[in-house]
C-alpha cells in the first residue's frame, strides 16, 4: 500500500520525518536495499577486473592491489563530482545505475576481447573501466544519501547507508570466490550483476514515479524540492533506457558461451576451421587466406607460411650427413610435417612416429587441407604411427634408430621438464645406432638463452656430443636445435635433398652463435633439481607481457 500522500502532511514535515519517518518506510527500505545492491555490484566489478587481469597478466598481488586502489580512488572522484549534480537527483541516480549496469556487466567481456584482439591497450582499458565504474558507484552513494536526507536525520542516513554499503561488500566478497567465479565464470558473473543494477534502476523508476506528486519533501535548504521525483516523460524515457540495457545484459548472460567462443576466436585472430578438445589437449586449427595455423592449448605450433623453416632446420642438417640412415624415430610431431621432410630421402626405410594423441594424428592423416600440407606423410607405407606416451614406448621398446627427432612441447612445467633431463637423454642414447644422431627442438636461444644452453649441458652430461644451432622462424622468432650423437658432428656442405631455407654456406652461420645468444654457464637439468623449468619460467616471464 502506498503511504498517504505527502501533500497532506502537516506543517514542519521535515522535523516529523526526521523523528520517525513513519510515512515513507517503503521508499527508505527500497533505497537502503539499493545501497546494498549497488555496493555488491561495485565490489563484484572490482573483483572481476582484478581476477581477470591476474588471470591474463599474472602477478595477482600487483593486479589486485592496483585495481582496488584505482577503484577506491575513482569512488572518491565520484563522490567529489556528486556536488555538481544539483537537480534531478532521482533521474541521475537511475541513469547512473543503468550505466553502471551496462559498463560493469560487459566489463569482463570487453577486457577479454581487448586482451585477445589488441596487444597494447589492455592495461589502459582495464584501468579506464575500473575508473569509470568506480566513479559512477562513487557518485551513487552520495546521491542516495542526499535523497534519504530528506527523510532521515543525518546520523541515521550515514549509519544506515554505510551499514548497507559494507554489508553488500561482505556478501559479494564471500560469494565471489566460493560461488560465483567457480560456478558462473567471470563473464556471466559480471552480466548478472549488471542485471541487478538495472533491476534496481527499474525499481527506483517505479518508486520515484509513484511519488512524483511529492514536492513537499525537502531536505536541506539547498535541495530542489522536485529533485527526488520523476516527471512521467522522464520515467518512460528511463524505462526505455533500462529496457535496452536489460535486454543487452540478459542476452549477454544467456549467450556467454557463444561470446567466449567469439573471444577465443579473437585470441586466435583468424577464422577457426577446426576445434576439438581431446583427452590430452585442445586442438585448434585456424586459417587466414592461405595461412593455416595449429594451436595446442592456445600455443601456436606452426604457421603454414613458415613451418618449412622450422622443419627444414629440424630434419636436414642431421639427415644430410646420414646417407646410410634407414630407420627414423619421431617423438611428438603428430602433425606429420617432420615426417614429410624425412620422406624426401629415398634411403629411409621406416619412420616410427610416437605421438600420444590419436585425435591429432588422425586429423593430420585425414583432413584434406592438412594432408595437403604434410603431403600425406602419415599415410605413407613407410610411416608407422604409434599412439602411446613417448616415454612408455621408449622404455618398453628395444629398437635402435639412425635418426631420432624430438619435437616435444617446451619445458613449461615439471612433467615436461623431465623430457629434457639427463635421465631421459641416457634412455634416448640407448636407442641410437652406432653412428645415429638425435635432433632436439630446444626452445629459443634468444628469448630463453639459459634454457637452451641448459639442454645442451644436459645432453653432454648424459655422455653425448652436441652441435647446437639456430634458425629464424618468423612465427616464433630465433629458434634453437641441438644435434646430439656419440661423435663429433660436422655440418653438411651439400644436400642430397635441397632445403628451402638454407644452403651449405648459410647453414654454417646457423651453427655460429652471436654474442647475445652465446653459451652461458648453466646447471645440468636433472630429475632431482628440475632446473630447466625454473630457467624457462624465469626467461619467458620476462618476454611475455
Amino acid at each position: 500500500m502506498p503511504p498517504p500522500a505527502p501533500r497532506r502532511l502537516p506543517a514542519q514535515p521535515a522535523q516529523r520525518l526526521r523523528a520517525g519517518c513513519r510515512t515513507e518506510p517503503r521508499l527508505r527500505h527500497a533505497l537502503l536495499f539499493s545501497v546494498f545492491v549497488v555496493a555488491s555490484c561495485g565490489l563484484a566489478y572490482e573483483l572481476i577486473a582484478a581476477a581477470l587481469s591476474s588471470y591474463v597478466l599474472g602477478d595477482s598481488v600487483t593486479q589486485f592491489s592496483t585495481v582496488i586502489g584505482t577503484y577506491l580512488f575513482a569512488m572518491g572522484v565520484g563522490s567529489w563530482l556528486s556536488r555538481y549534480i544539483e537537480r534531478g537527483l532521482a533521474i541521475r541516480f537511475i541513469q547512473i545505475e543503468i550505466l553502471v549496469g551496462v559498463i560493469g556487466g560487459f566489463s569482463a567481456l570487453i577486457l577479454f576481447l581487448v586482451f585477445a584482439h589488441l596487444a597494447g591497450p589492455f592495461r589502459f582499458v582495464l584501468y579506464s573501466l575500473v575508473f569509470i565504474t568506480g566513479m559512477l558507484v562513487g557518485l551513487e552513494i552520495p546521491l542516495i544519501m542526499r535523497i534519504l536526507r530528506r527523510e532521515l536525520a543525518f546520523k541515521e542516513v550515514v549509519s544506515q547507508v554505510l551499514t548497507f554499503d559494507y554489508l553488500g561488500a561482505l556478501a559479494v566478497s564471500v560469494a565471489f570466490p566460493l560461488l560465483l567465479a567457480p560456478h558462473l565464470g567471470l563473464m556471466r558473473t559480471a552480466m548478472m550483476f549488471g542485471v541487478f543494477n538495472v533491476l534496481v534502476a527499474f525499481w527506483a523508476i517505479k518508486l520515484f514515479g509513484a511519488h512524483q506528486d511529492a514536492p513537499g519533501i525537502a531536505g536541506g535548504p539547498q535541495e530542489q524540492r522536485v529533485s527526488a521525483t520523476l516527471p512521467p516523460r522522464a520515467a518512460s524515457f528511463l524505462r526505455w533506457q533500462g529496457g535496452i540495457a536489460l535486454v543487452l545484459l540478459f542476452g549477454g548472460f544467456v549467450f556467454a558461451d557463444k561470446l567466449t567462443a567469439l573471444a577465443e576466436e579473437s585470441i586466435y585472430a583468424d577464422q577457426i576451421i577446426y576445434a576439438e578438445s581431446t583427452p590430452y589437449q585442445r586442438i585448434v586449427v585456424t586459417r587466414w587466406r592461405d595461412d593455416l595455423r595449429l594451436h595446442l592449448n592456445g600455443n601456436l605450433q606452426f604457421s603454414s607460411r613458415d613451418e618449412y623453416r622450422y622443419h627444414d632446420a629440424l630434419v636436414h642438417p642431421a639427415l644430410a650427413t646420414l646417407p646410410g640412415a634407414k630407420r627414423v624415430l619421431i617423438l611428438g610431431g603428430g602433425d606429420g610435417l617432420a615426417a614429410r621432410e624425412v620422406l624426401r630421402y629415398p634411403q629411409i626405410e621406416s619412420i616410427t612416429l610416437v605421438d600420444l594423441d590419436r585425435n591429432m594424428t588422425n586429423l593430420f592423416a585425414k583432413a584434406p587441407m592438412l594432408t595437403a600440407l604434410n603431403q600425406n606423410a602419415l599415410s605413407s607405407a613407410k610411416v608407422k604411427v604409434i599412439n602411446q606416451d613417448a616415454l612408455v614406448w621408449l622404455e618398453q621398446n628395444p629398437d635402435m634408430f639412425d635418426l631420432i627427432l624430438i619435437d616435444f612441447p617446451d619445458p613449461s612445467n615439471f612433467s615436461l621438464g623431465k623430457l629434457y633431463s639427463s635421465a631421459f637423454y641416457r634412455l634416448l642414447e640407448k636407442h641410437l645406432s652406432a653412428t645415429g644422431l638425435a635432433v632436439i627442438q630446444a626452445t629459443s636461444p634468444y628469448y630463453a638463452r639459459k634454457s637452451f644452453w641448459c639442454i645442451v649441458a644436459t645432453l653432454e652430461d648424459a655422455g653425448l656430443r652436441t652441435a647446437p644451432y639456430h634458425a629464424y622462424v618468423p612465427s616464433f622468432g630465433e629458434w634453437g636445435y641441438i644435434i646430439a650423437g656419440r661423435g663429433e658432428f660436422a655440418p653438411p656442405v651439400t644436400f642430397p635433398v635441397a632445403p628451402r631455407s638454407f644452403d651449405g654456406a648459410s647453414l654454417k652461420t646457423m651453427f655460429a652463435f652471436p654474442p647475445d645468444m652465446s653459451r652461458v654457464p648453466v646447471e645440468v637439468n636433472r630429475l632431482n633439481n628440475q632446473i630447466l623449468v625454473r630457467y624457462f619460467e624465469e626467461e619467458w616471464r620476462r618476454v611475455m607481457r
Binding site: 566460493l178 589437449q281 616415454l391 615439471f414 612433467s415 628440475q530
Partner: protein, 533 residues
C-alpha cells in the same frame, strides 16, 4: 534479507561434497591390512599339530626389510642353507606395496634418505640392486637418477596456499631467527663426535656414541627439549612435530629428544647427482627395495622364501631351537629343528610365540608401545588441481593436520602428459595411548575414516572427490614402536640385543626405531652372528 539464511545458503555447496547422508559416495573402496585374523589366532593358538619334523641350519622369521637383509647378507657370505618364512602373502613388511593398472604404490614406508657412510650395508644392498651406481665408499656416491626423488620434492599447504618446502615460510622474524638457530644446532649435532670418533647421531643408531652427554637427551622429550633450549616458535614446533610423526608416528611430546634429534641430525648422506636433502624413492616406495631384494635372492638361493608361513611356536634349547611353522594355504604345520633362528618380526610377536622365554624378557618386551597407522590410497582419474603457487610435488604436507599429507605415486614416472594417479595418505594415530588409538582404528567403520580423510584433503583440493575412483584403507594396528623418553636405556632393548644363541633378534625393534637402515642393520648383524656358526 535474512542474514543467517543467506550465510547457510552460501556455505552449503562447500560442505555438500562430503555429505554422505544422501546416499553412497560415487567412488569404490575397501579396507585392507595385515593378516590380522591369522595373527590374532596366536591368542587362542588353535593351529594343527606339526605333521613332521625337519632339520634346518638357519630359519629367518619375517620377510620385511630386516629378514630380507639377513637373507641377503647370508647369501653374500655364501651361506645357502637357510629358509625365510613370511606370514603374509607378499614380502615387504612395513614396506609393502600395491599395484593398480596405472602404477604401483606404497602401503607403508615410501622413501630412504641418502645413506650415510656408516650405512655400509645399505649402500652395498643398493649397489647390488643397481640403485647405487658408483662411489660406494665415497662421501657422494652416484645413484640411479630415476630413483632420486624428482623435483619438486615437497610442498606445504598453509594459510590456504601451497608453498615450496616443508619449513613454514612467511612467519614472524623471531620465528625465522629460531628456525635458523635450530638448523645451526642440528648442524653442530651432525658434526659432534665422541672420544672414539663415534657420531652422536649415527644411522644405524647402534653405531652411535653412547657418550653420556648425548645419551642424556633420552631422558627428556623432544618438546621439552625445544622449550628448554629457547625454541617457542609455533612454526618450528609444528615442523619438529611433523618430523617425529613422520619417522616414529608419535608427537614430539611423546618422543625421546634423542630420537627426535636423530631424525634431523642423522640424515647427512650425500649424492654426486642430487641435492643434499634428496631421498631415494620409487613409485611403490620401499616396496621396490623389498621386491628387488626378493628377486635378487630368488636368483641366488631359489626356494629359500616361503610366503603364507607363520611361526606359531618357538622353543629354544641348547644349540638348537624348535619352531612350528603353520602353512596357511595347506592348513598344516611343520616343526623345524634349526641351529639358528633369526627373528626378523616385531618383538611383541616373539613374546607371544616363544614358549620358554624368560619371564623378565616377556615383561620387558610387552612394555613396548606400538603406534597404529592408517594409510589410504586414493586412486584418481587425474592429478589433483590446486591453488598455487607451488605445483604438485612428491610429498604434499598439510599444516595443522593430524595426518602427514600425501605422496604422489606417479611422481617418479616420466610421462609427456599427466594422467591418472594414486595418492598415498599417511595418518599415524599419535597423541593418545596406542592401545586406545588401536581400538578406535579397528572399531570405527571405514566410511567414517574416509569421511575424515576427504575432509582433510578437501582443504587444499575442494573438488578431489570428482576425480576419485577408488579409495582403499590399510590399518596397521602395530605399525611401529614408539621411541618414548628412556627408550635407549630400556631393558627390552638390552634383552633383545642379548639374544645371541640359537635365537638371534634381527628386527628393527632392536634399535627401537622403525627405519630401513635400522632394520637392515639388525638383519645383517644377526646374519653375521649366524654365519659364524
Amino acid at each position: 534479507m535474512d542474514r543467517r539464511h543467506f550465510l547457510t545458503a552460501l556455505s552449503a555447496p562447500a560442505f555438500a561434497a562430503c555429505d554422505f547422508r544422501n546416499g553412497a559416495p560415487e567412488f569404490k573402496g575397501e579396507v585392507l591390512g595385515p593378516s590380522m585374523a591369522l595373527g590374532h589366532r596366536l591368542r587362542t593358538n588353535d593351529f594343527p599339530a606339526p605333521s613332521e619334523t625337519r632339520n634346518l641350519d638357519i630359519a629367518i622369521i619375517g620377510g620385511g626389510v630386516a629378514g630380507l637383509s639377513a637373507a641377503w647378507h647370508l647369501a653374500k657370505r655364501g651361506v645357502k642353507e637357510f629358509k625365510l618364512f613370511e606370514l603374509e602373502d607378499a614380502l615387504g613388511g612395513n614396506s609393502r606395496a600395491g599395484q593398480s593398472t596405472v602404477t604401483p604404490y606404497p602401503w607403508g614406508a615410501h622413501y630412504l634418505p641418502l645413506p650415510t657412510k656408516e650405512s655400509v650395508h645399505v649402500r652395498q644392498l643398493l649397489a647390488d640392486l643397481g640403485v647405487l651406481k658408483s662411489g660406494i665408499d665415497s662421501d657422494t656416491p652416484l645413484y640411479d637418477e630415476r630413483a632420486i626423488v624428482h623435483g619438486p620434492q615437497d610442498r606445504l599447504f598453509r594459510n590456504g596456499l601451497w608453498q615450496e618446502g616443508l619449513l613454514p615460510r612467511m612467519v614472524a622474524p623471531k620465528e625465522v631467527e629460531q628456525i635458523k638457530r635450530f638448523e645451526d644446532t642440528i648442524e653442530r649435532f651432525k658434526q659432534t663426535r665422541d672420544l672414539f670418533g663415534k657420531k652422536a647421531f649415527a644411522i644405524p643408531s647402534l653405531l652411535a656414541s653412547r657418550d653420556l652427554r648425548t645419551a642424556s637427551l633420552d631422558a627428556t622429550d623432544m618438546r621439552r627439549w625445544l622449550v628448554a633450549n629457547g625454541f617457542d616458535s609455533p612454526a618450528l614446533h609444528w615442523y619438529v612435530d611433523y618430523g617425529c610423526r613422520d619417522d616414529y608416528g608419535s608427537l614430539s611430546r611423546d618422543t625421546s629428544a634423542w630420537a627426535g634429534l636423530h631424525y634431523f641430525a642423522s640424515r647427512e648422506g650425500r649424492a654426486q647427482n642430487a641435492d643434499p636433502h634428496a631421498v631415494l624413492t620409487w613409485p611403490e616406495g620401499n616396496g621396490f627395495l623389498t621386491r628387488s631384494t626378493g628377486e635378487w635372492l630368488q636368483e641366488r638361493v631359489p626356494a629359500a622364501i616361503t610366503r603364507n608361513a607363520m611361526c606359531t611356536k618357538l622353543v629354544t634349547g641348547k644349540g638348537f631351537a624348535e619352531i612350528d611353522i603353520y602353512f596357511a594355504k595347506e592348513n598344516r604345520s611343520v616343526r623345524y629343528k634349526a641351529k639358528r633362528v633369526l627373528w626378523a618380526a616385531p618383538s611383541f610377536v616373539l613374546a607371544h610365540v616363544w614358549e620358554n622365554a624368560p619371564a623378565l624378557f616377556r615383561a620387558s618386551v610387552e612394555s613396548i608401545e606400538m603406534v597404529p597407522w592408517l594409510v589410504a590410497n586414493l586412486h584418481l582419474r587425474a592429478p589433483p588441481a590446486d591453488s598455487g603457487p607451488a605445483p604438485l610435488a612428491w610429498d604434499n604436507v598439510l599444516y595443522n593436520s593430524n595426518a602427514l599429507g600425501y605422496i604422489v605415486a606417479t611422481h617418479q614416472t616420466i610421462r609427456t602428459r599427466p594422467g591418472p594417479t594414486v595418492l598415498t595418505y599417511y595418518w599415524p594415530h599419535s597423541g593418545e595411548p596406542p592401545a586406545v588409538a588401536r581400538k578406535r582404528l579397528m572399531d570405527t567403520p571405514w566410511s567414517e575414516w574416509i569421511k575424515a580423510i576427504l575432509l582433510d584433503l578437501q582443504r587444499p583440493h575442494p573438488n578431489i572427490t570428482k576425480s576419485l575412483e577408488r579409495i582403499e584403507l590399510w590399518r596397521w594396528g602395530h605399525a611401529m614402536p614408539q621411541p618414548s623418553p628412556g627408550f635407549l636405556a630400556a631393558p627390552a632393548r638390552a634383552a633383545l640385543a642379548a639374544l645371541d644363541g640359537s635365537l638371534v633378534f634381527a628386527h628393527s625393534d632392536l634399535s627401537g626405531m622403525s627405519l630401513f637402515e635400522e632394520a637392515n642393520y639388525a638383519g645383517v648383524r644377526a646374519a653375521t652372528l649366524a654365519a659364524r656358526g
